[in-house]
């Protein structure tokens, strides 16, 4: 963010005169700041209830007036019988998503770039962006329609053709949750992220391709030696973004949505993550202080991940977000 401080000409007038002159602008800004104070800063101060014994009936004042509890809620979380499972699930889901979803938009962009028929290219692009605009609720409905053991069209088809004898229990089997979450996230978001890589490909100097072609380089070779290196900058930026939001699911996001919508009592062994657990104990059981402590732990881990990924990116490639 470029910052421009008050210039010397304006400093000759008094601050208040100057302020009065731009009062309407200041009013607009102050309305915005007031909003941020309410919906962003107040919740941030609200974090201190993680160190208190807060009761929801005491409202906002209770945030400040409730008695201190020290590290009690954090200890309770460490000793929670769910703790290991939750941390394992959160990390597994996050890292699996990054590993498997990160390369897909790059590959898809390269494939699309090789298509010569403009209409077909446009068609595939239009289709692949579409799921991005569909709610996760609808996606989970589609998933149910396709993979349910009782009604799912996939089981229906596989059973009737005799490929399987037992219906697949993709939606309820704890062993299939991670795979299912990762692939459905890719299905929904991979097409959307090709936009940025396609734009980066457009930025590659066509003269490079022409020169290589004259030198007799095959198309595969040109993809490997020209297109792919041309995507380096965009890839690094996207990787930093991905790792920065890794606990939310990275590029394709949606850890929380999926754990909420695809999670059920049968697969909760692998589908329950820190965020959904905090949400459930907080809102369903009313243990607000405990839930906030869990939330805070997750934020601390993700801030550490953001700063370290940014540091690594700066050292390795010289580019970083901040």
């Amino acid at each position: 963010m470029k910052a421009v401080t008050g210039t010397s000409t304006t400093q000759k007038q008094g601050f208040f005169q100057q302020f009065k002159k731009q009062l309407s602008f200041q009013m607009f800004v102050w309305l915005g700041l007031f909003f941020l104070l309410l919906f962003h800063y107040l919740p941030m101060f609200g974090i201190i209830i993680a160190f208190k014994d807060y009761r929801i009936s005491t409202g906002i004042q209770g945030i400040f007036s409730s008695p201190w509890a020290g590290w009690k809620h954090f200890e309770a979380f460490f000793n929670d019988y769910n703790f290991n499972n939750l941390v394992r699930n959160t990390l597994a889901l996050s890292f699996l998503k990054v590993i498997f979803s990160y390369p897909i938009p790059i590959l898809l962009a390269i494939l699309l770039n090789e298509v010569r028929n403009a209409f077909f290219k446009r068609f595939v692009q239009t289709v692949s962006y579409l799921p991005h605009f569909i709610s996760w609720v609808v996606v989970s409905g589609i998933a149910y329609t396709f993979f349910s053991a009782d009604y799912g069209i996939v089981n229906d088809l596989l059973l009737s053709t005799g490929i399987i004898n037992q219906p697949l229990d993709v939606l309820t089997n704890p062993d299939s949750f991670w795979g299912f979450a990762v692939s459905s996230a890719i299905w929904k978001e991979a097409g959307w992220w090709t936009i940025i890589f396609l734009a980066a490909i457009t930025g590659i100097d066509p003269a490079l391709h022409e020169a290589a072609e004259i030198d007799g380089a095959s198309r595969i070779k040109r993809i490997w030696y020209i297109t792919l290196p041309g995507l380096k900058g965009a890839s690094i930026v996207v990787l930093i973004l991905t790792i920065g939001s890794i606990l939310g699911g990275g590029l394709v996001g949606s850890n929380f949505e999926q754990a909420m919508l695809f999670g059920n009592p049968l697969n909760s062994d692998t589908s329950q993550i820190i965020q959904t657990y905090a949400f459930n104990v907080g809102l369903a059981e009313g243990r607000f202080s405990f839930a906030t402590a869990i939330d805070l732990m997750q934020s601390v881990i993700s801030v550490i991940l953001i700063f370290s990924s940014n540091y690594i990116a700066k050292r390795v490639s010289g580019s970083s977000l901040f």
Binding site: F28, V29, F35, I142, F146, A199
Partner: protein, 296 residues
Amino acid sequence: MRRGRKRTTEDWILDSGITTLLIIISFVTLYPFYYILIMTFNAGTDTSFGGVYLWPRSFSLDNYIYFFDDARWMNAFGVTVLRTLIGTALGVGFTSMVAYGLAKKDLLLRNAYFIFVIIAMNFSGGLIAFYVVLRSLGLINSFGVYVIPSMLNIFFLLIAISFFREIPEEMAESARIDGASELRIFARIMVPVSLPLMATMSLFLGAGQWNSWLDSAYFVQSEELRTLTYRMMQVINQSMMPTGSADATASMARLSVTPLSLQATAMVVSIVPILCVYPFLQRYFVSGMMIGSVKG
């Protein structure tokens, strides 16, 4: 550029391989939507026998008749439309108004304001603390919870600021000399000349409103305030639970509607509006996405 070159065997293999792969990808993306669509035009009781893949087998409009006759679904539909319209209008209007203020050259205390905004963007109190605040403000279980907390989108605020800075000062200056208030200049001059920005913002905020489900599921309890996404979620959860299957009512049976076919109908009703605006707004995707990824 490559038109003049002869196609080699390598070209042929590569092209057909890529084309096949992309056709498969398109099919895997599109078919689920298509299947949901034909399901809604097939009698629900017939669908449950299986075997309907490409075309409605037992054509019926019962699902839609039931859906648009059911007061709860219609109410949910109405709430969703309303929150999308109001939420988008408030979000776009308020965000760009604040941006217009912050975009002012020589704005006093500018740096302090920006620090305030950037901190709010990068740190959050988490969902639980957010809930506590919403509750204390009396927003829980009110329509306001859908449209008020999302009024200021920080990400679009930053985009709008840089957009307004590009607009030549003279445009506002002449109106200012004529004695127009800043609010009027903003509404009558700034908004019209920033149509691409307004369209991009409306698209993303509107889609967010339309698809939002968490607030309807956890921040309201009153049945009249539930949205379409919440009702769909409810049906899915009921049918996913191994013990209690979704309750099929008497009128459902009369109309050959099943919970599953009704859910599909709700999904189609929820997707169609997105499909309708999709072609018009598609040209703004790229700009929206590019700004988004650069600014993070």
